[in-house]
Structure formats: C-alpha cells, structure tokens
Amino acid sequence: MGTEDLLEEAKFELLAGRYENAEKFLMKVLEQEPKNIDALFSLGVLYEITHRDSKALECFNKVLEISPDHKEAREHAENLSEL
C-alpha cells in the first residue's frame, strides 16, 4: 500500500476512534517517509487525543523542524507546553 492510501486508512481509523489501528497505519507511513508532515501531525493529534502528551509534543516539534511555519503544529505544541 502506498503512503497516500496508508494515510487515508489511518485517518479513517482515527476518526472512527480506533486509535491502535490508526497508530499502526501512521507508523507504516513514517517507516517509508520519516518526514511526512501529514503523518507526523496526525500522529501528534492521535497522541494528544489519547493523552500521551510528551509523544504528541515530540511529533509536533518534528513537524516544526521540517516546516517551521506550520501554524497548527505550533498551536498544538504551545498548548502542550502549558501545565
């Protein structure tokens, strides 16, 4: 399966609340494309939804390393930095 299809599956699973499956698909995308911003951002959101905040922050920071102007990643990262 190509990364686009994997991403689509991941988002479908995520929206359905099947977070374990969504995470697996996103990890597969990142194995093939470690700098895939969409996958990294989606994984960050998944971690945030499931309250794995430090992992979420890692993902958003990786997005910002690749794309410093990514507005949504910055907003999520700033929110996570507040206790």
Binding site: L14, G17, V45, I49, H51
Partner: protein, 227 residues
C-alpha cells in the same frame, strides 16, 4: 456581586481579573501604584491605598461587598491587621491568602471565613501530575477525598459506566468525562474537539483516551492508577 480585593500581587491580580471578567463589580486596592495601574482597565475601581489605615478602609464601604479578599500575605503583619480591620468594619465574608498554617490559624481567629493556600495547593497539584502521568488534575476536597481527572484505565475502555461497577468495585464516583472527539478540518487535517459530559448516564460507554473526572478516597485513587 461586589468584591473587594486587597493586595494586587500575582494572586490578588488573578482573583480580581477573573471576577471582573465574569461580570462582577470589583474594587481592587494596593499601596503600590504600578500594581493598581495593571488592573484598572479591567476592574470597576482600582485604588492606591494603604489598607492597614482604618480611616482609609472606612471610605470603601466594607459592608457593601459580598466578600473581601485579603491577598497581602507577603507581609504577614499587614495581612493579619487588614483581616482584623475589615472584620470590625462589617465584612460579610473574608477570604484570606496565606502560605503558612500558623498564619492561617491566626487569620481564622481574627475573622477570616476561608483561608487559601495557593502555593501549597499548586505544589500538591504539580507533584501529583508530575508523578502520575495519567493524572491531569488534582483537587483536594477534604483530608480523605480528592477530585481527580484520570485517563480511563484500559480495564474500563469499551464498557459502560454501569459495567465498570466503578463505585462498588473500586470506590470511585465518576462524575464527569472529558473526551477529545476526532474530526477533520476543512483543509483535510485531523483535529479534535473537546466534549465534557457532566454526570454521565450509567449507559455512557467509556472510550479510549477519555479523562474520567472522579471523586474518591485517596487510597482508591491510588488503586485506580494501577489498573
């Protein structure tokens, strides 16, 4: 409602601004002009005043306020004197800030109805959150009971509240659920919205990632953390 906040340090400023933003009439008083200027745009009235001066305090009409908040605990003597003065001037309710249990005892003797320990409470909260990654909020309700926000244990996920038997089996009362519901933005990015369910029904199913708002004894909370 009408409130008088005496002392516009970090705590007093936060109280004054929050009350004012909620639509209440707030009179803020401090002997430091800079502190007063920081809040004057937000509160109903901000005054530079030495609140240990009884004559000056009299001009405020202490009896007219629903509550007086004494937030000057940096200077213990002033804090005690101001509490005593506002009590004598007929304050309906006095809330005083402190950082020391001994000072709290004296404040209560002098008329404070409620004594707040913001540093101690925040310290406890931070310690709980740092040492328990699944705890997102911690409020001590009494020496025995606390209100806690905790990530739903795996054992509860997919079950209704009734099926978890949380109260009977684990001694915890689930009074709310905070949930992050995934959705797609218009640009096709995954995001989420926050939902809070207060007093959920027994048939409410607990989802992965839910934050359960529970009231329980501290030892039961410890047991829940290990589930």
């Amino acid at each position: 409602m009408q409130f008088l906040v005496i002392g516009i340090g970090r705590f007093g400023k936060a109280v004054a601004e929050t009350l004012a933003e909620a639509g209440h009439d707030v009179v803020a008083v401090d002997e430091n002009e800079e502190a007063v200027m920081e809040v004057e745009a937000v509160v109903s009235q901000a005054l530079v005043m030495d609140a240990t001066n009884e004559r000056a305090l009299r001009t405020l009409g202490i009896k007219d306020f629903d509550a007086v908040i004494v937030a000057t605990s940096q200077d213990i003597e002033s804090s005690l004197l101001i509490t005593m003065l506002v009590k004598e001037l007929g304050a309906k309710k006095i809330i005083a800030k402190t950082s020391a249990p001994l000072q709290a005892k004296v404040l209560k003797r002098l008329g404070a109805d409620l004594v707040i320990y913001p540093e101690r409470d925040m310290g406890q909260r931070v310690a709980q959150i740092l040492t328990s990654p699944r705890i997102f909020e911690f409020i001590e309700l009494s020496p025995e009971y606390s209100l806690v926000e905790i990530v739903a244990p795996e054992a509860f996920v997919g079950k209704t509240i009734k099926e978890t038997d949380a109260r009977a089996k684990y001694g915890v009362n689930i009074i709310g659920i905070r949930r992050r519901v995934p959705e797609m933005s218009e640009e096709g990015k995954v995001t989420y919205r926050e939902e809070t369910i207060i007093t959920p029904s027994a048939e409410e199913e607990i989802a992965s990632g839910d934050l359960l708002i529970v009231i329980a004894k501290d030892e039961d909370i410890e047991a829940l953390k290990k589930l």
